[in-house]
Assembly symmetry: C2
Homo-oligomer: 360 residues x 2
Amino acid sequence: MRRKDFPSSPLGLHRVIEPAGALPQAAWRLDPSPELWPDEARVRVDRLNLDAASFRQLSGAAAGSSNGGGTDLAAALRAAVLGIVAERGKMQNPVTGSGGMLTGVVEEVGPDSPLGLAPGDRIATLVSLSLTPLAITDGLARWDGRSEQIPCDGHAILFGRSIAAVLPADLPVPLALAVLDVCGAPALTSRVVRQAAAGGAAPAVAILGAAGKSGSLSAVAARKAGARSVIGLVPTRAEADLLTSAGLADQVVIADARDPAAVAESVRAAGGPAQVTVVCVDVPGCEGGAVLATADGGTVIFFSMATSFSAAALGAEGVAADITMLIGNGYVPGHAALALDLVRAEPGVRRIFENRTAEG
Amino acid sequence: MRRKDFPSSPLGLHRVIEPAGALPQAAWRLDPSPELWPDEARVRVDRLNLDAASFRQLSGAAAGSSNGGGTDLAAALRAAVLGIVAERGKMQNPVTGSGGMLTGVVEEVGPDSPLGLAPGDRIATLVSLSLTPLAITDGLARWDGRSEQIPCDGHAILFGRSIAAVLPADLPVPLALAVLDVCGAPALTSRVVRQAAAGGAAPAVAILGAAGKSGSLSAVAARKAGARSVIGLVPTRAEADLLTSAGLADQVVIADARDPAAVAESVRAAGGPAQVTVVCVDVPGCEGGAVLATADGGTVIFFSMATSFSAAALGAEGVAADITMLIGNGYVPGHAALALDLVRAEPGVRRIFENRTAEG
């Protein structure tokens, strides 16, 4: 079952059907057929984990089309995901552009695959579903539509550079999957806070959405990397209580992350403005608040896939804010191990993840 | 003519009609009425300069609706811009989210305005049209639709933090306006290249779209900031000849910036990968090429308003690229003076600007 009719690329260019020449992430449609090129590996999928922005968008659209009934809603969500995967050969939300990740068992490994995987390995992908060829064979019948973690049977293809992590034996799979899904956030936060601390005084770090998954991990990472103070911003009293009891932030403030003036004022009152601001809120419209909460010379890291490039660029320019704005690259070397170690070491983070994984 | 019914904000929050609480840039609709709050200034507008991504989008849409006739096209473009400004109280392209800038003469200055302007000053705004309250009174009758520089009569409002530059006496207004429109790009490029050079070896810098306005200025800025080599990427032989004759790049390569493999290969062949890559191409789909052209540990600066946040974030993650990706903040202290000085000192850049200003 090897395909050699034309050569493969470690980036997966050989699986792009349209438009020709695009990278798989940017492509509209991929070829998910199970036959492998020599440097590929195939995974038997058992679970998809949609990213938060995508799941939120799909849920909203499904609620609009299903009159709100629970059964209807689940059916509408299943139909939406199945339709996308059938049309595109990958699970990439056409509205948000984002995907998520998957877990499964390695089924076959091409002789030239550089990933170091063996058949039988239980893995999670660390590259996005938005570039991973995928076919679903069970109609998602076991998904109740209430969680972004979708039980699923099917197969996926890993290219030469599609990095994956063997799932740790000491953590439950849903927990490990949820942690690996956002592991780029704490890794990049850690790097930026370390650089800021090395360049002068220890920074104040504001985390927007600090009681969420990427937010709680980023809060802990910031503290360990030398933050002077971690300011956690959350939208509700319930989230504030959760964050306070987890002990992950020095200051907990409540504000709507989409309200720029409120965000700026609450961060200021908690000891800001921040030298580093980390945006982990998966709703549109958080750019302005992040800009205003950040001190001149400071840095904003945008992890939310709901971030608008032009809103961030023009928002900072529009208020003459001399700040550095980073697109949250999901890849930082060592990110998976760093995030898993944070969860092992910090019971507060683990509680937040277990809480969120159970509820969703 | 002072309004004191409720207090003003230097950010312009008091001019936001909907949605309440949004910053002017993110708002759908602003109040452009001419009466001033005490910290505002009003400008008699004589020219709008749409940003390149917006003008390209509007032109494409107008061509689609006007059957391609020149007169029809101009009428369709006028109607589009007038419609946006009438509906939103500002010139913000709803598709690209971007705006541009304007020139005019200061007409009235509130007693508390911190901008240092006086009535009669000829100025250009350095904040985006996407956040500047604007009313047009001449129907754009003098605009032929062929250039993004629009002769215009009307008024605009400057908030306390809406920075503006008095136009230099030694440069023609269309030239100065075109330079100021993109002055954030060379300033941020200069800073990033300087930092890279300070941290180790002088960097190779790739400029995608190097024969354009922001691209040519960024190329010169990179060289002055200590680049080891400037690699200019352009789409056509004509642009390559223009760039070569201007003498702004050490290497000139021809490739479609939307073709990731072609961009990576041509930059590599010219001495790359780059430690710093600057994206100045105002078409969608340039994220992948920029990522692949950049060395591990390097930096990509995205200046194009056509950049997709998720395509950049997931594109880098998808190929395990450990690179820093910056959202091109249009504000860097001293950016206007730096860009104008580059044009004064570099005849090659000035020729490119005069060429582009004349043709468009």
